[in-house]
C-alpha cells in the first residue's frame, strides 16, 4: 500500500509507526507529555492494587472519582454538576469525545465544526453517520472562529456545535465574548454544544478560557469533556470524563456501558489521587510548557515561518505554504530525513495541507535539536525548488 494513500488518523499512525524505527527520533507530533505521571499518583495506584483491585466499578465510574471530578469542574470551569447523575468516567478524553458525539448526533444530523479541528471528531461523526459542516478559521486571525460564520453555517439539519477551546491543532482559545455569542446562537438555533476543555489548564499570556456550560442557559444543552492525560501527564492511564445535564448523561452512561463497560479501577483510584492530591506538578508542567512555547515560537520566527499564535494548548500550527508541498509530504520528509516527527495539517483537515502541528512536549534541549533539524529539512526542501 502506498504511504501517500493514508489520510487523517491513519496517516498519523503511519508516521508514528515509522518514527519508532529511529533511535534518535524527536517527537514533536503526538500529544503525549514527556513528563512521567507524578509519583504520588503512581503510589496511589500501587496502593489501590493492594487494597482496591477487586472493587466493583459501575460503568459511570466510582462515586469518589465522580465527586472529585465534580469538585474540579466547579473549581476550574465553574460548572455545577451532581456527581451522582451528571458525571461519567471514560477511557480517556478520546472515549469521552466518542461518547459525546454518539449521544447527540444521529445519521444525517449536522454538527458545526470550526476548522481545523482534532481529526477524531470527524472519525466519530462518521461512525455516528453525522455530517460535518465546517466553519473555516485562519492563521491571520489566530484561528478565531467567528460567531457570524457559525451562524451562517446553520441549516435545518444542524443539531450540534463543537467548541474545542483551546483548539487542537490550531491552539486558539475562544474568548469569553465569543463564547457568550456562540452560546447565544446555540440557544437561538436550538443546538446542542459539545465542549472539549481538555487543554483548559494550558492558556497563555492574557487569554482566558471559559466553559460554555458555566454560562446561564449553557449547562442544559452542553456536554463537556476533559481528561487527566494532558494536565497530569497520564496519557497511558486512559482516564477522562463527560459532564452534562442528567437527562443527556443517562444516555452517555448507556453508551459507555455498551462500548467498554467501565474504566479500569486502578486508573480510577489514580485519578482520585490526581484530582484531590497536591497540584504542584501540574503547575510545574504548565510553567515548562510556557517556556517551551516561547522557545518554539522564537525558533519559528527565526526561520521566518508564520503561525497562528498559540493562545493555549501544547502545540503550534505552523504555515509551511512557502514549501509549495503538501504537509503530508513535508512531514514525511522531515521524519525520514531528519528523524523529527511533526503532524501534517492535512491529517486534521483536508484544507490544511499547508500546515504542520508541532507539539512542545519534549525537554528544551530536544526541542532545540528538533527545530535545528527541521531547519535543515526546510532548507533542503527549498533548495530543490
Amino acid at each position: 500500500m502506498s504511504k501517500k494513500k493514508a489520510e487523517g488518523t491513519n496517516l498519523l499512525y503511519q508516521l508514528i509507526s515509522e518514527a519508532r524505527a529511529y533511535d534518535d527520533v524527536i517527537v514533536m507530533g503526538r500529544g503525549d507529555p514527556d513528563f512521567d505521571t507524578p509519583a504520588h499518583i503512581v503510589a496511589a495506584a500501587k496502593n489501590a492494587m493492594v487494597n482496591h483491585h477487586s472493587d466493583y466499578t459501575p460503568p459511570e465510574g466510582l462515586l469518589a472519582l465522580r465527586e472529585a471530578i465534580a469538585e474540579r469542574v466547579k473549581r476550574v470551569n465553574n460548572i455545577n454538576v451532581d456527581p451522582a447523575t451528571e458525571v461519567v468516567v471514560t477511557n480517556g478524553g478520546q472515549e469521552a469525545l466518542f461518547l459525546m458525539v454518539l449521544a447527540v448526533l444521529a445519521p444525517g444530523d449536522e454538527m458545526i465544526v470550526p476548522e481545523p479541528n482534532y481529526n477524531t471528531y470527524a472519525d466519530s461523526l462518521a461512525f455516528a453517520g453525522g455530517v460535518k459542516v465546517e466553519v473555516q478559521t485562519y492563521a491571520e486571525d489566530d484561528f478565531r472562529a467567528d460567531p457570524a460564520d457559525v451562524r451562517a453555517a446553520i441549516s435545518d439539519r444542524s443539531r450540534a456545535l463543537l467548541l474545542v477551546s483551546p483548539n487542537n491543532p490550531a491552539a486558539s482559545v475562544i474568548s469569553p465574548g465569543d463564547m457568550k455569542e456562540m452560546l447565544g446562537i446555540a440557544i437561538e438555533k436550538d443546538l446542542m454544544i459539545l465542549a472539549d476543555d481538555i487543554y483548559d489548564l494550558f492558556v497563555y499570556d492574557d487569554f482566558e478560557h471559559l466553559s460554555p456550560a458555566s454560562l446561564p442557559g449553557g449547562k442544559e444543552r452542553t456536554l463537556t469533556l476533559n481528561a487527566l492525560s494532558k494536565a497530569y501527564s497520564m496519557t497511558g492511564w486512559r482516564l477522562g470524563w463527560v459532564v452534562g445535564p442528567a437527562d443527556l448523561m443517562a444516555r452517555v452512561r448507556e453508551l459507555k456501558a455498551a462500548i467498554s463497560g467501565g474504566a479500569s479501577v486502578i486508573s480510577q483510584h489514580a485519578g482520585i489521587a490526581a484530582l484531590t492530591g497536591p497540584q504542584d506538578a501540574v503547575e510545574m508542567m504548565a510553567e515548562a510548557y510556557r517556556r517551551r512555547r516561547r522557545l518554539v515560537l522564537d525558533a519559528l520566527d527565526a526561520m521566518g515561518i508564520k503561525y497562528g499564535l498559540p493562545q493555549g494548548g501544547q502545540f503550534v500550527f505552523a504555515d509551511i505554504s512557502f514549501t509549495g508541498m503538501d504537509s503530508g509530504d513535508v512531514a514525511q520528509r522531515i521524519l525520514t530525513e531528519q528523524h523529527v516527527l511533526a503532524y501534517p495539517g492535512s491529517a486534521f483537515s483536508k484544507d490544511r495541507k499547508d500546515y504542520l502541528r508541532m507539539t512542545f512536549l519534549q525537554p528544551e534541549a530536544q526541542l532545540i535539536e528538533g527545530l535545528e533539524r527541521m531547519k535543515v529539512a526546510m532548507r533542503d526542501i527549498m533548495a530543490e525548488r
Partner: protein, 366 residues
C-alpha cells in the same frame, strides 16, 4: 432551554431498547451478589509488582493502539497452547475488557456484512453493542435443552439463507454450555462452504473442566473466526477491564482504527498486570477449577433437593436454573442478586455465580 433538539435526542434514546439492556456487573458488588460476569479473586503480589514496576519506570504514556507487543504475543501464545489456535501476535488487539471486544468486533467486522446472526439467548452486552449502531440481525434459535446454544442445524440454516457473519458464545454466557467437537465440525464446514465468518466469544472457556472445543483451534480459524474474551480471568483483574480480540489479519486494520478513534489504547497498568498474569495463569486456574468443581457440585445437589431444574452447562463458574418469579422474589428478599435470564433472552431463568454464597442462596429458597 434546549427544546426540540434535546427532546428528539432523548426520545431517540428512550426508544433504543437494545442500548438499555442491563449488563451484569463485572464483579460481585457485595457478599450476596451472584450476578457478576467475573469472580473476585486475589491479586498475586507478583502481578502487583509487575504493574507497579512498569508505572514507576515511566510506562505511563500512550502505547500502541493494539496493545504492547509482549502482551499481544502472550495472548497469541495462550490461545495456541490452551486452545490450539493459530493466531500470531499481529492478529491480536488488546481491549479495555470483553465488552469493548464485543463492540469492536460486532460493529467493525459487522460493517462488512449485510447481517449478523446472533443467538436468541446471548450476553446482554451483545444487544448493547448492537444498540449503538443498529445492524440487521438474524436470530439464531436457542433453547434450554442445548444450554441455550444455537444448534448447528440452526446455524447452517442461517448460513444457507444468506447470513455470512455469526456471533457465537461457547461456553454460553448464561448457562456455561459449550459446543462439542462434533458440533464445531458441522459449524466449521458450513462456514467454509458459505465463505462466512464467526465472532467467537470463548471468554468462559477457562472454567470448563476437561476438554473445551474451540473454533479457534481449526487450522483456518485465523481466516474465519475472530475470537474474543477476557484476558486471563480469575487472576484478580476483572475490575481492570482487560480483554482481547484475535482476528483474521484483514479484519485487524478496521478494528485497530476504531480502537484508536474511541480509546487510543488500553490502560498500561492493566496491560503490564495482564502480562504477568499470563505467567501465573495455569497454576492459578487449576486451583480455582478444583474449588469451583466442589462448590458447583454442592450447588447442583442443593438445586436437585429443591426440584429446581439446572440448565446443562460446562463452565464451572456459573450455574443457570429455571426459577419461577416466586423463587426469584424469594432470592431478592433474602438479599441475593442474580443475573436475570430475561436480559439474555431467556425469561424464567436465573444465572448464579458459583462461590461460597451460592449454596446459601439456594438455602434461602427452601
Amino acid at each position: 432551554m434546549a427544546a426540540k433538539t434535546k427532546a428528539d435526542t432523548l426520545a431517540r434514546h428512550q426508544a433504543n431498547t437494545a442500548l438499555k439492556a442491563t449488563l451484569p456487573p463485572q464483579i460481585g458488588r457485595h457478599d450476596k451478589d451472584l450476578s457478576a460476569d467475573g469472580m473476585i479473586s486475589p491479586l498475586d503480589e507478583r502481578i502487583i509488582a509487575a504493574a507497579a514496576d512498569a508505572l514507576e519506570t515511566g510506562q505511563t504514556h500512550y502505547v500502541d493502539v493494539p496493545g504492547i507487543a509482549p502482551l499481544r504475543a502472550a495472548l497469541a501464545d495462550y490461545l495456541t497452547s490452551s486452545h490450539g489456535a493459530h493466531y500470531e501476535a499481529e492478529n491480536i488487539i488488546v481491549t479495555a475488557g470483553v465488552q469493548e471486544s464485543r463492540f469492536l468486533s460486532i460493529q467493525m467486522i459487522g460493517a462488512a456484512y449485510d447481517s449478523i446472526g446472533i443467538p436468541a439467548v446471548a450476553h446482554p452486552g451483545v444487544q448493547k453493542a448492537l444498540g449503538v449502531r443498529a445492524r440487521t440481525v438474524v436470530a439464531l434459535a436457542a433453547d434450554a435443552k442445548r444450554g441455550f446454544l444455537p444448534s448447528p442445524a440452526a446455524i447452517v440454516d442461517a448460513l444457507e439463507n444468506g447470513c455470512r457473519l455469526l456471533y457465537l458464545e461457547s461456553p454460553s454466557r448464561l448457562s456455561g454450555a459449550a459446543y462439542t467437537d462434533e458440533d464445531l465440525s458441522i459449524i466449521r464446514a458450513a462456514l467454509r462452504e458459505h465463505e462466512a465468518m464467526a465472532i467467537w466469544d470463548q471468554g468462559l472457556a477457562p472454567w470448563v473442566d476437561g476438554t473445551f472445543s474451540s473454533l479457534a483451534s481449526f487450522e483456518e480459524a485465523p481466516s474465519l473466526a475472530a475470537t474474543i474474551g477476557e484476558a486471563w480471568p480469575g487472576m484478580g483483574l476483572a475490575s481492570w477491564f482487560i480483554g482481547y480480540i484475535a482476528a483474521p489479519a484483514d479484519q485487524i486494520p478496521a478494528m485497530q482504527s476504531q480502537k484508536q478513534i474511541m480509546a487510543i489504547c488500553t490502560s498500561t497498568a492493566a496491560q503490564y498486570a495482564a502480562l504477568e498474569a499470563a505467567n501465573l495463569f495455569e497454576d492459578a486456574r487449576a486451583q480455582r477449577l478444583a474449588q469451583l468443581s466442589r462448590l458447583r457440585s454442592d450447588i447442583i445437589d442443593a438445586a436437585d433437593a429443591l426440584n429446581l431444574e439446572v440448565i446443562a452447562g460446562d463452565a464451572l463458574n456459573i450455574v443457570a436454573l429455571r426459577a419461577s418469579e416466586a423463587a426469584a422474589a424469594k432470592l431478592r428478599s433474602a438479599g441475593f442478586d442474580y443475573a436475570d435470564g430475561a436480559s439474555f433472552g431467556a425469561p424464567a431463568v436465573i444465572r448464579l455465580s458459583v462461590n461460597r454464597s451460592t449454596t446459601n442462596a439456594l438455602a434461602a429458597l427452601r
